[in-house]
Symmetry: C2
Subunit: 394 residues, 2 copies
């Protein structure tokens, strides 16, 4: 017996607030192998340590089989949290304990937990302009009022940030100080200190998202803003760009009180992150030299970035402006007046080329002249060919 | 330079609403090997197909290595969604398509997405009394006003349900019609039809959680309420109890419009569920006979349930009442007046025995005489010994 009824579901207000990711829509086109895609935010799969992870998976099954397949603690596997804490000690002399780390499903879930922790509908948060789409989506879902502070070439525009914090009660400032998505811009040491000072003065917490910090091109990444403002910062990290996103493992570092609260919210959200994959990852980190692995990623991405910047310089009109990333996966272009990124995309699609129009990365008053190009996952020849064609279209 | 600041974080209202799971607190004690634990909700790890999953993992790495380690679609792996849709066809003649299925991190994440989809602060939802703690936590986190309808031995008390729906605007009714957690109670065929009728009449959506439906003891589980009310029901499933929870994979079945909206929310929540584990699971489902595997689980749990019921009958005073589950993992006891479950737990802890006091499973006006006993993960001898001691304490 099937009782016929009308549509009885009535959605929550937050549902109207979440734009579907245009990036992920474009990526559906990208499965066509003839497409030259500058659109994705994907790490290069040729650098995934497939054989090594396969062996680590076998070991994890043999050593911890039943345990790795059972329910686990919400906080995450202790040795994994220890590894992360130690790495902060080694890289940046941060004195943090495993108890300050919560394992999440990539850093995107950390954003979800942070939104749950702090955002009441209508609360104001500040993000970078342009900013990470996944954060815009997540904060919108929780009905935040999103304010934007502009990005300069050396990091956040501190005057704008200061102005916003002076005029508004703000729950937190969210930013990506290393090789930002979508622009590739990094905060200088000086800018970090200044930003920390402003945040301290206003008592505004900082959500420091750092998925790309390890992928630097012959450049010593300054210490995270967390090091200047440990009580007031939540630092997010991810294994997606340095090992593999398919494991879905990232983390949140914060003071123990926040981690305890975030753990309760995670418990109600999905109990815990993948247990088997945490065991596999732990094996990998114990057996392999992560620095050496990351070195290979850095070298390849640095080369691909160089090829991209040279091709842009060579094929694109002089009137274009673009960032020169010191790491990460993205470059950001501003087109001359006369053609918008959406118009360019329409033409590019006919030539089987795709990229993400920059207007996607603004909370309001989008700049239609901007676009994001990914260099981590485009083969050298395709990159040159694609950029030559794009250049001739502009 | 470390700028010293006070605590600047100001939590959202929802944070005050989420009680930490007492169950998970008790489970921390349970890691002591001398403890006899009736507390967990854990499947029996001796039944995990460790060898098989290890082999499937090797195959997944070899066949799909880079793909399985890359970012993936939010909806989940298509063949996995196909498998789930087909199984509904085989088991219950449900005509559902893979497009109606969204892969989640266990069914707990489906609850999070449902709360995101439907609950505005203060919205009323109806749950079973007593009800699943993870749902109470999740709906509380989203500031729902939780109403409770009592459970009878044949399922929800339809009079109470009808009464609540008549007097209140209710966003949805949430229940577990098969071998409920915490009571082990199942809805009869008759009760399902009646429930569907009431929900149809009031136009109230049903969230049908079904993690245990496949674990039935020589008893043909009636078709889900979804089959009576497909446009108005969201049906949740999980691989945690039939394969292994450490994979963190479950799903949500609903009409395509809801799945589309839930997919956008999941995108903002954690992009997608574990990709590698989805490939491993797909290999397992393609290569092995799931029915045969589940048959082994059913036989063992049925035996353990029988041992538990016999021991209760044998060792407990006549004045106690308890459910006689037809499947699942839990039995529910009501103590005679004179001793509460919390008092019993204090005594039991001294004898290294733990269980979950039933008051945890109520939204309000908890019954202090009740308690939940898990039988899936207790060895036969320990079970007899533990129940004998418990019986003598009462």
């Amino acid at each position: 017996m099937s009782i016929s009824t009308g549509q009885q579901f009535s959605y929550a207000k937050r549902v109207q607030n979440v734009p579907q990711s245009f990036v992920r829509e474009i990526l559906k086109v990208a499965s066509n192998p003839e497409i030259i895609s500058f659109a994705g935010g994907l790490p290069n799969p040729s650098l995934f340590p497939v054989k090594e992870l396969e062996a680590c998976s076998a070991t994890a099954f043999q050593k911890f089989g039943r345990q790795a397949l059972q329910y686990a603690s919400t906080e995450g596997l202790y040795p994994l949290r220890e590894f992360i804490a130690n790495r902060y000690k080694q890289r940046h002399k941060l004195d943090v304990s495993p108890e300050q780390i919560l394992i999440t499903n990539g850093s995107q879930q950390a954003l979800d937990l942070i939104a749950k922790l702090f955002i009441n509908p209508g609360d104001k948060v500040v993000v970078e302009r342009p900013g990470y789409l996944g954060a815009l989506q997540c904060f919108s879902m929780f009905q935040a009022d999103i304010l934007e502070a502009g990005l300069d070439n050396d990091g956040i525009n501190t005057q704008e940030l200061d102005g916003l914090l002076s005029c508004n009660p703000v729950k937190f400032f969210y930013g990506i100080p290393n090789f930002q998505n979508p622009t590739g811009i990094s905060y200088t040491e000086e800018k970090r200190r200044k930003t920390a000072g402003i945040l301290a003065r206003h008592g505004t917490p900082f959500i420091e998202d750092d998925p790309y910090g390890e992928i630097s091109f012959g450049y010593k990444t300054p210490a995270p803003i967390f090091s200047h403002l440990p009580d007031q910062t939540i630092l997010l990290g991810s294994f997606s760009k340095i090992i593999a996103p398919g494991l879905r493992l990232g983390w949140m570092l914060a003071n123990p009180e926040i981690i305890r609260k975030a753990t309760i919210l995670k418990q109600a959200s999905d109990l815990h992150s993948g247990n088997l994959t945490q065991y596999i990852l732990c094996e990998f980190l114990a057996k392999h030299d992560l620095d050496m692995h990351i070195e290979r990623i850095k070298q390849q991405y640095e080369h691909q970035c160089k090829v991209m910047l040279e091709a842009i310089h060579h094929y694109f009109p002089f009137s274009i402006s673009y960032t020169r990333p010191l790491g990460g996966m993205f470059c950001w272009l501003t087109l001359p007046q006369g053609i918008t990124a959406r118009e360019l995309l329409q033409r590019a699609l006919k030539e089987n080329i795709i990229f993400v129009p920059g207007d996607t990365f603004y909370a309001r008053d989008a700049d239609p002249q901007t676009l994001r190009l990914n260099f981590s996952n485009v083969a050298e020849d395709a990159m040159k060919q694609g950029l030559r064609k794009l250049g001739s279209m502009i």
